[in-house]
């Protein structure tokens, strides 16, 4: 069948044709970008932290009334940290525990500059985590080179002053970016304002920083463990529980800590506060809540959009069928088969859709360009456009099928009678 008569018929329905094509174009542009945003968010959310995330919990505690700026106060805090950790490690639900301020995804960002010499500009930056000899085992980090911290290496940090531990463990990503030749182990580096070097004694395979902020993406994997106990009134304990005992430990751990010191503060999560006891699953969920909501919203909007567009194509097609009953009858009377009629309407729909899709592909990239400029999105991959195009063509044909079939049921007699 030649498409010439279809084209000349379309020319008489310029407005309707344009509207449907425009709608297909806009739908394609939005759905492609929405799909791409969803995919980007899921990619973000799916990144492994490098930890063994099961059976891990983190508990916040604050001790007040101790002046942490005096030596006596520091000694009191230090003693209570050691006592807390001994208590925790002896709990039946607990395998291991250590004290710190942050872990991957837990929020907040404590960073340091790194340079190879004690002066000059900082070539790299890193997020640092307080750690001790229990940290690797508690977090389930995989050491790929070097060794763990030793007990006698663990110093004290009162969160002020320059940080210059003699030994550090870094993530492989940071090691490779500092020493591209892969010989980072045993090399000295200098942190911000440090005068003595810190030697890389161990390298872990992978360790994400504490923030998910995508603007720091290049630094997302640049983590450093410093062998220091954080001697401040506010701190966190990270606890690895026995398999299947996570829920029980989330009760027993705060109870044990309260039993040890009833005056301490462990936030209960009321009044908009962050909960004091969080499993790693909760930490992960909270860290990516915004991304998940955005993905969900894009999904809902895409579905509504496709439904609306499908409905609209079906509606307008059936209007056209109704309008052309007489012509269809005449064609049928002149010998056109039902199949011919269906084919006519489907081809007509396909022509409009293809025109819409071509405009839509342009719009997709325009929209993507605008989003990139505004929101630090990356360039849309053509795969999404292809998926979008196929989806819309199928949707459009599907929506036109029912009206086309109804058109085919028109009998020649009926059409002639109706005039």
């Amino acid at each position: 069948m030649s498409i010439h008569p279809i084209l000349s018929a379309l020319r008489r329905h310029k407005t309707g044709t344009t509207l449907i094509a425009l709608q297909i174009a806009l739908t394609l542009a939005i759905v492609c970008n929405a799909l791409f945003i969803i995919r980007t968010q899921f990619e973000q959310m799916g990144r492994p932290t490098g930890l063994d995330e099961h059976n891990l919990l983190m508990i916040a505690t604050t001790q007040s009334g101790i002046d942490s700026n005096t030596d006596a106060g520091k000694a009191t805090i230090d003693a209570s940290i050691k006592a807390d950790l001994t208590t925790l490690r002896q709990l039946p639900d607990v395998i291991d525990a250590y004290e710190t301020r942050s872990i991957p995804l837990s929020g907040g960002l404590w960073g340091l500059g790194i340079r190879m010499m004690p002066s000059g500009s900082y070539g790299s930056h890193t997020t640092y985590f307080h750690a001790d000899e229990h940290t690797l085992a508690t977090l389930g980090l995989r050491l790929v080179a070097g060794r763990n911290f030793r007990n006698d290496e663990i110093g004290e940090d009162d969160d002020s002053g320059v940080l210059q531990p003699a030994a550090i463990i870094v993530s492989k990503h940071l090691a490779d970016s500092l020493f591209p030749r892969g010989d980072a182990l045993g090399k000295p580096v200098y942190f911000t304002s440090a005068t003595t070097p810190s030697t890389i004694v161990g390298i872990v395979e992978r360790m994400q920083t504490s923030s998910t902020y995508s603007g720091t993406d290049n630094r997302t994997w640049d983590s450093t463990l410093v062998p220091m106990r954080l001697v401040t009134p506010s701190r966190y304990y990270v606890v690895r529980t026995r398999s299947g005992r996570l829920a029980a430990a989330m009760q027993s751990v705060p109870e044990a800590l309260y039993a040890h010191d009833p005056q301490r503060v462990i936030p209960d999560g009321s009044g908009g506060d962050e909960a004091g006891v969080r499993s790693f699953a909760q930490i992960r969920a909270e860290a990516y809540q915004g991304d998940r909501t955005l993905a969900m919203l894009m999904g809902v909007i895409s579905i509504i959009l496709l439904a609306v567009t499908g409905g609209s194509i079906a509606g307008l097609s059936s209007f056209w069928v109704g309008q052309r009953r007489r012509q269809i009858g005449v064609r049928r009377a002149l010998g056109a088969s039902r199949r011919d009629i269906v084919r006519y309407f489907l081809i007509e729909n396909a022509l409009i859709s293809v025109a819409g899709v071509i405009v839509g592909i342009l719009l997709t990239f325009v929209f993507n360009g605008w989003l990139m400029g505004q929101f630090e999105l990356t360039r849309l991959s053509p795969v999404y456009v292809l998926i979008g195009v196929v989806m819309l063509l199928l949707l459009s044909q599907g929506a036109a099928l029912a009206p086309a079939l109804r058109a085919a049921r028109t009998t020649p007699v009926e059409a002639i009678r109706s005039s």
Binding site: G16, I37, I66, Q263, V265, G290
Partner: protein, 436 residues
């Protein structure tokens, strides 16, 4: 006549239920998705103190020099202790306050109650009049209290509820960390969102501050900042070293009521930076900023990109819905060309035809708006559970949102109806009669 057109409209809508339902749903969904995302955007981008936002200014002093500027040009948004205290001492604005976030532990006298941390701010006495902070009981402390490092506190309504069961607690004492403070005032409900005064150091959204202490007293008691220190060079150990360091951790705001005060303050900041340069503390030319609140909110990127993307995509959806409605209305109206022809032939003016179909489009708009209202309500409920904790409270429905939703639906439908109505107005009577 309007009533008659309304009847005609309803009759026509009933005659074609599928097409009508399609249009109503299109408008409903389009409007609801826009309004749902808009509720969050509105709350985030709102002016937290509209009667005064043009008069509140946030000075920035470049204590770090050219190597550490944001985007190569912008000085840090927070201040060093040295600069904040110097500016307070000079006291050149009508009202001003340095401030930093704190989180002291509140101990209760009731031994069954667990101790809790109370988020708060260390501020100067002028903070309260400058921000028109509402008081339930008592008031802020005096400038003399600032000077004497007095142990006074202003507490929030919720903290007063917890500690004193809502009674007037002015003059009573509360135990924060290891010191006792006299309550000078209890705030009424006060939770500006975004929390504009703390943007230099803390997040824009989150729980309300519960306790306010004099800045001088807080630094005296060596209270640490609840947020972080931002340093290009780390200080030595100890609180005193931190105070003298080039680390920035303090917010600063001033009230300047007239343009001449603004320019005088700018000149003062310039002079201050020059002095610091002359004394050798700053090794660079002055690079100050003095942004008013709207500019400050923009600079601090209060609205997260996800919210903007959502709104942008939702508005595009509404656009598609409108295009869709144009098509459907056109189909629906032109199908009745015969009827229009008869009315025209019987003497109806083009305007009358336009009015009739305009009213019909408007009815669809209202119906779509009602559906949109229900869906928006549903959407806001979903937002409540799925937004990050600190944003969840922002998604809420109020009266303004209700009529905005309806208005948006009607305006969108009428806009979409313009072209179809114009088409039916130009249906030629004779031709239609002949064809039938």
């Amino acid at each position: 006549m309007f009533k008659y057109y309304l009847q005609l409209g309803f009759r026509s809508l009933r005659r074609n239920p599928v097409l009508t339902a399609l249009m109503v749903m299109t408008i409903g969904f389009g409007v609801a998705s826009s309004m749902t995302t808009y509720t969050v955007f509105r709350a985030m981008s709102g002016d937290p103190i509209p009667w005064k936002s043009g008069k509140l200014f946030f000075p920035q002093i470049d204590a770090w020099g050219p190597n550490a500027r944001r985007n190569g040009t912008e000085p840090a948004d927070a201040m060093t202790y040295v600069d904040a205290v110097s500016l307070m001492r000079d006291h050149r604005a009508h009202l001003q306050s340095a401030l930093y976030p704190i989180a002291p532990t509140v101990h209760s006298e009731d031994p069954t109650q667990k101790s809790r941390m109370a988020p708060g701010q260390a501020v100067y006495s002028e903070f309260f009049p400058m921000l028109d902070v509402p008081f339930l009981f008592g008031g802020g402390w005096t400038a003399a209290d600032d000077e004497q490092h007095a142990r006074v506190a202003v507490i929030s309504k919720s903290l007063n509820q917890r500690l004193f069961e809502g009674t007037n607690s002015v003059g009573q004492s509360i135990q924060l960390d290891s010191h006792s403070y006299r309550v000078s005032g209890v705030l009424d409900d006060w939770h500006p969102q975004p929390k504009f005064y703390g943007l230099a150091t803390t997040d824009a959204f989150g729980p309300a501050d519960q306790v306010f202490l004099p800045f001088t007293t807080a630094t005296d008691a060596q209270l640490a900042t609840r947020s972080g220190l931002f340093c290009i060079k780390l200080p030595g150990p100890g609180y005193a070293a931190m105070l003298n360091s080039s680390c920035v951790w303090i917010g600063y705001m001033v009230e300047l009521d007239t343009p001449s005060q603004v320019s005088a303050y700018r000149t003062y900041l310039e002079g201050y930076a020059h002095e610091q340069q002359a004394s050798g503390r700053f090794g660079w030319v002055s690079n100050n900023r003095l942004r008013n609140l709207p500019a400050w909110l923009d600079f601090e990127h209060v609205v997260p990109p996800q919210t903007k993307i959502s709104l942008a995509v939702a508005l595009c959806l509404l656009l598609v819905c409108m295009v869709n409605t144009v098509g459907l209305l056109l189909a629906k109206f032109l199908r009745r060309s015969g009827e229009i022809g008869v009315r025209r032939a019987l003497g109806a003016s083009r305007l009358a035809i336009g009015a009739q179909f305009g009213v019909e489009a408007g009815t669809i708009g209202v119906a779509g708006g009602l559906l949109g209202l229900m869906l928006t309500w549903l959407g806001v409920q979903v937002m409540h559970v799925s937004l990050p904790r600190q944003f969840a409270a922002l998604a809420r429905i109020d009266l303004a949102l209700l009529w905005q939703t309806l208005l948006l639906a009607v305006v969108a439908t009428v806009l979409a109806g313009l072209y179809p109505v114009w088409r039916v107005m130009y249906v030629r009577p004779s031709l239609q009669l002949k064809e039938d």
